[in-house]
Subunit: 139 residues, 4 copies
């Protein structure tokens, strides 16, 4: 199975930094969302395509482990890995310094599909989504 | 005509402050939105009621004059004044230090009504809204 | 020992809501920071007092479990509980709907003290902080 | 004199969009800050270099005119132009759709230098900065 992962390079913006001169911890969820969108686009199932298929994928769990801080103008890479997709989405994340490769942050998110019309939770991922994963991964 | 204004007291949060230890200038638009919502609720025409009436009121202009900075844990008051409402909304804002009354910020926003169904701009404010203003102001 | 907890009531702002009309999951970290600041103020050791004592308390872990969404204008309560304080800070959080008391969110944060002058991690919480906890809790 | 301007292409993120499915107006100040940083880096005088020279450049005025909305996943370009620099910084901004070139937003910001050590406002821009502008522009 082809690896379902992607990465995104970014530079720390001034408005992301707090008065301790490090990125405020809440802003890491923005980085995670950016790379998650890129990952879903890669399998041609971004948020707009989800919505057209009649589903939303709200976040149900978030875990972040902050190992070393990010500073203003620092260049970093965030990687996302699709670990589970049949019943829910489990994605893990890794942030590293772009120059040194030093590990800065580890994180996970979990998402479940909601049928937008009925408001019901899907205990199995929608076929529209799993078909995309399989097509991408040549399963 | 009764004065169409309201005010809101707030305390500066840690995540609003930048590395110069003052509130990042973009966060003032949050304070403005908070007091604007309170002003519209006062005339019983908040964003949800607008939407039910079929209108949205996007911001078309913003002007902020930063006179003195806000700092972490500082207590401040923001006031909003409805200056124009017949063809568009013009609201002005004033932020003062809660203890000293010192003027810290002056701002303005301008909004025009959009008919959500047609996407068209309304060159006269919707009756649903002007009725509310008149009822509140005893016009 | 007196309970080391506090709570804060809030209303959901327009700019916190995403295009699915629920609070964007990243904004919950703001609510957590607000009530955490209130908790630390209660024992007279807020971020400014930490800094004067020569310490910073960066977040090292965050966990959030989103049980039910928050919507625009919803009134909610966030509670914070100080669960550990001798070697690091462990705080747990609970968000409930203000009217129904329904549980919406559970979360945890973990913080370790850093000596600002040396940049070193403290494996035991600074006396300036533990004294405050003990004084408050009558230990 | 060489043109003192720069541009930055960006894609609209999910967390920037509000419940009307357009970018929340406050988030435009982030785009402006990003391109402003790039402009100042171009003349080798970014925020870190300012700080080392002993100055901060707080925003004293912001003006934004929202002409047409930005939507999720839309690709856009923001351009920044340094219009004044001898006594204060005046920068103007233009956002256009990346594909059609359609003008979406016009904005301006004004900044004055503050001597960090004394807290005093500089009524003439610091030599450290004007030298950089002149060197870049071959004046």
């Amino acid at each position: 199975m082809a690896e379902l992962s992607t990465s995104l390079d970014f530079i720390v913006e001034f408005y992301e930094v707090d008065s301790m001169k490090i990125v405020w911890h809440g802003n890491y969820l923005n980085y995670m969302e950016r790379v998650r969108c890129k990952l879903l686009s890669k399998i041609q199932h971004n948020y707009n395509q989800m919505e057209e298929a009649g589903y939303a994928w709200p976040v149900v769990k978030i875990k972040v482990k902050y190992i070393a801080p990010l500073r203003f103008l620092q260049k970093a890479r965030i990687e996302a890995f699709l670990n589970e997709w049949e019943n829910c989405l489990k994605i893990s994340y890794k942030i590293t310094d772009l120059e040194t490769g030093k590990l800065l942050t580890k994180a996970e998110s979990e998402h479940i599909a909601i049928n937008v019309a009925t408001g019901e939770t899907c205990f199995v991922s929608p076929k529209e989504f799993t078909d995309r994963v399989k097509a991408y991964a040549n399963l």
